[in-house]
């Protein structure tokens, strides 16, 4: 665990306490059972706004706390542990785009609302089922945007879309010219293909040529933070289970085969945590973000993949039941794994960044 300052510790403890007490997995079950495409609880969301989690990376002059990415990551990690369904991750990612690339006017218009949670934003980049920012057809002409974005996370609750077009990023408000087609994925969260048909698009002109890449790197790092929370939780509940389940007159935890498995997973988790925390710190220090983001998401993919499979395996038959939570982590894991860079894509990117 990175060395945290007092502020960060408080933030993390607050998030942990809230997640455990107010937003355990039973809350996600309620969201799932409701079947609402929006797939989150508005009351929980407004609480997040009140606690300031929606404005962690937003500058103070725009209503945020400017605590930075490490802090945002801590909150997202804690909520990942209990699978809290909310647009916090996506709205934070979208806000970074405005922070990095928005004009004073755009910032003044959107950031305070995003900071308070009054408005929700999301990022719409990919046009196919796999992350590939090199292939974008969406285009803007005369201030009107046209194109379809595939599998946009948290699209149903979004008031604002940060949309990648051929020549840059645009802000598009929900409303005329924006239509959603729901895509239900295994994680049972909000996903939709979003079609922009002549909707008004407001370009983010700041941030330079690398704006899209910079935003995506931050998306990778914050997504990895949620994955870290999930991996940590699967590890913890699995370890607890092995310590109490008795077979052959012994707790499973006494079997060396399982002890070594848990030791391997523990080591993997340590690596994942370092990679994710380094990613968050890289953004805060403004140094080596692209490389750090690639490492963070690639390690998150690798470790959560193994952890989510092992979580089920080590629980035995009970892990296969819907009544037990561990399966939910598996289902969300693959969705996040495929978002903002699959392992294969990240390996390409890492090699490219390394110049080989």
């Amino acid at each position: 665990m990175a060395v945290l300052n007092e502020e960060q510790e408080m933030l993390r403890d607050m998030a942990r306490e809230w997640a455990v007490n107010e937003s355990p997995v039973t809350e996600f079950r309620k969201v799932r059972a409701s079947g609402a495409p929006e797939a989150f609880d508005r009351n929980a969301w407004s609480t997040m706004g009140q606690m300031g989690w929606t404005g962690v990376i937003i500058p103070e002059e725009h209503g945020g706390s400017d605590f930075g990415f490490m802090s945002a990551g801590l909150v997202i990690e804690e909520l990942g542990k209990t699978l809290t369904a909310s647009p916090l991750l996506m709205s934070t990612i979208a806000a970074t785009a405005i922070v990095l690339g928005g004009s004073d006017e755009q910032k003044a218009k959107w950031l305070p609302k995003l900071a308070s949670g009054e408005a929700i934003a999301t990022l719409a980049v990919d046009e196919g089922a796999s992350h590939d920012p090199a292939k974008i057809e969406t285009s803007v002409s005369g201030g009107k945007i046209s194109g379809t974005k595939a599998f946009v996370h948290e699209a149903h609750g979004a008031d604002l879309f940060v949309v990648a077009a051929k020549d840059g990023l645009y802000l598009v408000e929900k409303g005329d010219g924006v239509s959603l087609t729901t895509r239900k994925l295994t994680d049972q969260r909000s996903h939709a293909d979003v079609t922009f048909d002549g909707a008004t698009a407001d370009k983010l002109t700041g941030g330079g040529d690398s704006l899209l890449d910079d935003v995506l790197d931050r998306a990778r790092i914050l997504t990895a933070a949620e994955m870290l929370g999930m991996a940590q939780q699967v590890f913890d509940v699995t370890l607890d289970y092995l310590k109490q389940r008795v077979q052959f007159n012994q707790v499973l935890a006494s079997f060396q085969a399982l002890q070594h498995r848990m030791a391997d997973l523990f080591a993997d988790l340590a690596q994942m945590r370092s990679a994710v925390e380094a990613g968050l710190q890289a953004v805060d220090s403004g140094f080596g973000v692209a490389r750090a983001a690639t490492i963070a998401k690639a390690e998150a993919n690798r470790v959560l993949h193994t952890m989510s499979n092992q979580g089920i395996q080590l629980h035995g038959g009970i892990g296969m039941t819907d009544e037990y939570d561990v399966g939910f982590y598996l289902k969300r894991a693959r969705v996040l794994e495929a978002s903002f860079g699959s392992t294969g894509w990240l390996k390409h990117r890492f090699a490219k960044l390394g110049g080989y």
Binding site: R183, Q188, H191, F248, L258, G317, T321, A338, T343, H348
Partner: protein, 403 residues
């Protein structure tokens, strides 16, 4: 790759092949082409349409659904080569074997080995005709990997047993007609106090409660026995011999779960071909994503070597007579590889490969997502991978028991 294996397996026996071909042409309803055996699995109720029924009855009457089983009990009485010809010809015609389920995969072979004459005459023919569904009453809440810890008790009441207890994870329990169960008949001896018996699922006192799985399906149940009367003639083998019989049945189960050889066909198209549909290719027709290309090639190489291992093991154990300890090796590798394949399919398809329901996904895509989730169970049931490792270490390699 598949073609190389196919070429190797092509058997001569031309006259028999011709007979099979003709039979399929005469009997297989065209409308069922490309469909799978809906009744063989444990994942659905037994509603069958007229065509399915006709096909099942035609194959059942021939005994060709269980081709190597003795003719006198309703099997085909054929040798392995001929059985393989039937498989090949079914595949060629886009047909399937309509006879299946736990009766075929594990209970039948076990009963043929341990059952008495009357039991074989009563139970084997309906299995060969696909008329009866069996379920497996093994696991209990506190008897999973430690199966011999089972507590369901069968009390000797003279002409019958009175069974009380709870089983769990009973696959297909809600659709089954009968259950082969292992139960305790003697509380003083963990292993020798177990007996193997057959229980009618519609006996008074049997209650099943379906459990929902992570894949969304509810194909398995908690099964409760309250004062269930089981006639004495339903005891298979001797009282106290249940552990031995039960373990033999598990060897059959493992061989079947691992796929033996048939899995190859079930696996369908090569991953490379699927990837070319979903992912970009370069001018040479190669996948642009070289990392993915490497992963697929790596998988297909190991998958082929697994199939070859399964083939070799089958031939060797046939020569030695019956199933063998190698079933643990096959189960361990086969289940892991089919899980890997599902994960690769998802990787290839991206988010399109993670659909849960609704528009925008093909039936095939949705099915593979559910199969991916259900497939996580294959390394758990039938003796988990960890238990297979223990079996290999202790029984095959003679390493010491650490427990």
């Amino acid at each position: 790759m598949a073609t190389q294996l196919e070429a190797e397996t092509r058997s001569d026996n031309d006259a028999f092949r011709e007979e099979v071909r003709q039979f399929i042409a005469d009997n297989f309803p065209a409308e069922l082409k490309g469909k799978a055996n809906a009744l063989a699995g444990v994942d659905g109720p037994t509603d069958e349409n007229a065509a399915q029924k006709a096909w099942r009855e035609a194959m059942g009457a021939k005994g060709w659904g269980t081709p190597t089983w003795p003719k006198e009990y309703g099997g085909g009485g054929l040798d392995k080569k001929q059985a393989r010809i039937i498989d090949e010809e079914l595949a060629r015609a886009g047909a399937y074997n309509p006879i299946g389920g736990m009766g075929v995969m594990m209970f039948g072979p076990t009963l043929l080995e341990y059952g008495n004459e009357a039991q074989k005459r009563e139970h084997i023919p309906p299995i060969c005709r696909g008329e009866i569904r069996w379920c497996q009453g093994y696991s209990e809440p506190n008897a999973g990997s430690d199966l011999a810890n089972l507590q369901t008790f069968a009390e000797d009441k003279g002409d019958h047993y009175l069974v009380n207890g709870q089983k769990t994870w009973t696959s297909g329990g809600q659709w089954a007609d009968k259950c082969f169960a292992i139960v305790r008949t003697d509380k003083s001896d963990k292993h020798h106090g177990i007996s193997f018996m057959l229980i009618d699922m519609d006996s008074p006192g049997v209650e099943v409660r379906p459990i929902q799985m992570i894949s969304g399906m509810s194909p398995f149940c908690e099964t409760f026995f309250t004062d269930v009367k089981v006639p004495k003639e339903n005891l298979v083998g001797e009282e106290g011999q249940g552990w031995t019989i039960g373990k033999r049945l598990l060897q059959h189960e493992r061989t079947n779960i691992s796929g033996g050889g048939r899995l190859a066909g079930m696996m369908g198209a090569s991953l490379g071909d699927i990837a070319k549909k979903y992912c970009a290719t370069d001018g040479d027709g190669e996948l642009e994503d070289k990392v993915l290309r490497d992963k697929i090639a790596d998988f297909e190489i190991r998958w082929n070597s697994f199939l070859l291992t399964a083939r070799r093991a089958m031939e060797e154990s046939k020569a030695a007579g019956g199933v063998s300890e190698i079933s643990s090796v096959l189960k361990k590798i086969g289940t892991k590889m089919s899980q890997e394949r599902s994960e690769l399919l998802i990787d290839i398809r991206g988010l399109q490969g993670l659909g849960w329901e609704g528009d925008g996904f093909s039936t095939g895509e949705l099915e593979t997502v559910r199969a991916w989730l259900f497939g996580k169970a294959t390394t758990i049931y039938g003796g988990s991978t960890e238990i297979q490792n223990n079996i290999i270490a202790k029984r095959v390699l003679g390493m010491l028991d650490h427990q």
